[in-house]
Amino acid sequence: MTAVAERTLTYAEAVREALAQAMSADERVFLFGEDVGVYGGAFGVSGDLVHRFGEDRVRDTPISELGIVGAAVGAALAGMRPVVEIQFSDFTAQAMDQIANQAAKIHFMLGGAATVPMVLRAPGGSGTGAAAQHSQSLEAWFAHVPGLKVVMPATPADAKGLLLSAIDDPNPVIVLEHKLLYKQSGAVPAEAFRVPLGETAVRREGRDLTIVATGVMVSRSLEAAAALADEGISASVLDPRTLRPLDAQTIVDSVTSTGRALLVQEAPKTGGFMAEVAARLVESPAFGHLRAPVSRLCGLDVPIPYAPQLERAAVPQVADIVAAARELVRRW
């Protein structure tokens, strides 16, 4: 068991393993999206699944996001467990009516008589030179819609465990993966384990400030925390993992203890998810323990540029997190 648990997979392999285990365990589960079949997925996530499970369960679709999600909503209503892949999360804009107006609302509007157990996986984020229409971080769109659950796995193990929980869930769950994380490796349990939705992970414990980060910013924050430790600054790093429903309590507890919060997201600052976290903190008992203003470090309020230097400059990097944390602790 120990030997198996220490097995290392990439984030993409972990997602694929979760899909395979879910499809093996439950014949209602099927994969649905553009190029998920023979091509193996735009980022190679579905890989050989079409050969293992056949074209009925790993289904290539036409290039119509609205049609894909609409068909998945229908399949879910009819008792299936569809897992939709959208090649870039930016393209969910095409499918937003089915996501926000259908999938999210049906259970409520039918008085609980029907459920939409659909999972929508889509990679977000910048860093691959894919430019403004293929690099956005759109989690706040989905987190703003009651009826949707929103998950952002930051490690290979969470990519597997959260996806399996999302597939189990009777509600539509949006799983926002990250393009830069697909090739990152980490220990992943071999069994079909679940990471419960709605539990913030404490990735590192520290005394001087709490860094809350999502997606690719989690590993950057951990790198920053290690650098800060060399300067004598001790940082906690928290990864909410599920944006909705959010486990705010763990964040509140940490900030109550450290008195300082640095909230890091790749998405632009205005209207971003970390604004929600900031508001939760100042509305909570942590307020009386704050020794500094709650501080956000976010992507710039610009479309992601194509030029690599500008692309890097548009979102927080490790050095930016170190500088912001240092400033927060030194000034306050």
């Binding site: 008195g259 307020f287 009386g288 323990h289 704050l290 020794r291 500094a292 203003p293 000034r331 306050w332």
Partner: protein, 349 residues
């Protein structure tokens, strides 16, 4: 001697943390002084050299009198230090009108800007934020501006000073078993209420020995002994007999809760008290002798309230009883006066 609260007029000098000739930095703790109930650290308001220390331990020094001299090159050393804190700064901003967005110059405000954690700590340690020099951005008081937490922090020094002074007072104790009727209000409220009423009927005991004479007081101030994580505190209930029992019970519950949470105002602790009520009955103590808190002339010690087998008319019965101890400053009154006070207490309760 800095003014550390609205009501402070003088302070007792406790100890120097610096010696003559030492360099001090702005915000550095240089000494400790006591208001009548709380010990406070005094921080340097400027950087410089302590050229002369005037105060010595136990000196009672009026607010505004020098305790030491600092040689510094800074300008405006006394700027604002003794501004009258009693006059609230009128709030000029009409309601509902937004402040200008520009950060500078800072908008004058009656409350100092402070991070929430500093506000919380200031309340816990009874520090007036108006006396703290801000070092944070936007002239905001940071947590570190309040200095390092005081290690003992259990109020032993304050209790030690008061009780040592108490031993200088010739005091006697009278014990009496009170016969009680079961009641809906809490016993603390009933005892405070009845005892304040009794003192009002015996003004000779609502008094202080000072300048070789008995000084009488118009108001009855009952300090309620409260056990808190920070040590024994005695928030003062002024004229509690003027409240209805309902009101007083609510007032006491609030004061006790805030005392335990460290959220009492300095004014509540330093209001004039003419007596103290302590209750150890909940801890199973049947009766005890409380020491007077100078300059109060009485203290009431309430023991356990329990059903007791007692003689009643025509046989033996069970009655609710409580042994109280009344401590009296013998300079102020004699035993019989105390006995009459207890008789009145029995009637009232």
């Amino acid at each position: 001697m800095p003014k550390m609260s609205m009501t402070m007029t003088e302070g007792v000098f406790l100890v120097w943390h610096k010696a003559e000739g030492d360099e001090v930095r702005e915000g550095e703790v240089v000494c400790e002084v006591a208001t009548d109930k709380v010990d406070m650290e005094v921080e340097a308001t400027v950087a410089g050299t302590l050229t002369r220390l005037l105060a010595t331990p136990e000196d009672v020094i009026p607010v505004g009198e020098p305790i030491a001299f600092v040689a510094a090159e800074a300008d405006g050393l006394l700027d604002g230090m003794f501004d009258d804190l009693d006059d609230p700064v009128p709030d000029q901003a009409p309601e509902g009108r937004a402040e200008p967005p520009s950060p500078a110059p800072p908008v004058p405000s009656s409350t100092p800007a402070a991070v929430p954690a500093a506000r919380r700590l200031a309340v816990e340690r009874s520090i007036d934020l108006a006396t703290v020099t801000p070092s944070g951005p936007w002239d905001t008081i940071r947590l570190s501006d309040l200095g390092t937490p005081r290690k003992p922090g259990n109020g032993r020094a304050a209790v030690a000073r008061r009780m040592t002074a108490s031993t200088q007072i010739p005091q006697f104790v009278l014990y009496r078993d009170l016969d009680l009727e079961p009641a809906t209000h809490g016993w603390t409220a009933r005892f405070v209420h009845a005892f304040a009423q009794a003192l009002r009927q015996h003004p000779d005991l609502n008094a202080t020995w000072a300048d070789d004479a008995v000084q009488h007081h118009d108001r009855v101030g009952v300090a309620l002994a409260v056990d808190t994580p920070r040590g024994l505190l005695g928030p003062v209930l002024t004229d509690p007999d003027q409240d209805s029992l309902d009101t007083l019970a609510t007032r006491i519950a609030d004061v006790v809760e805030r005392a335990r949470a460290g959220r009492l105002g300095l004014a509540e602790l330093s209001a004039a008290a003419t007596t103290t009520v302590s209750n150890l009955g909940n801890h199973g103590v049947t009766g005890f002798h409380a020491l007077l808190t100078p300059p109060q002339a009485t203290a009431l010690a309430v023991g356990a309230i329990e059903p007791k087998v007692v003689p009643v008319e025509g046989g033996i019965g069970v009655r609710l009883r409580c042994t109280v101890g009344l401590t009296v400053d013998h300079r102020v009154a004699d035993g019989v006066a105390g006995a009459r006070l207890l008789a009145t207490l029995q009637e009232l309760i």
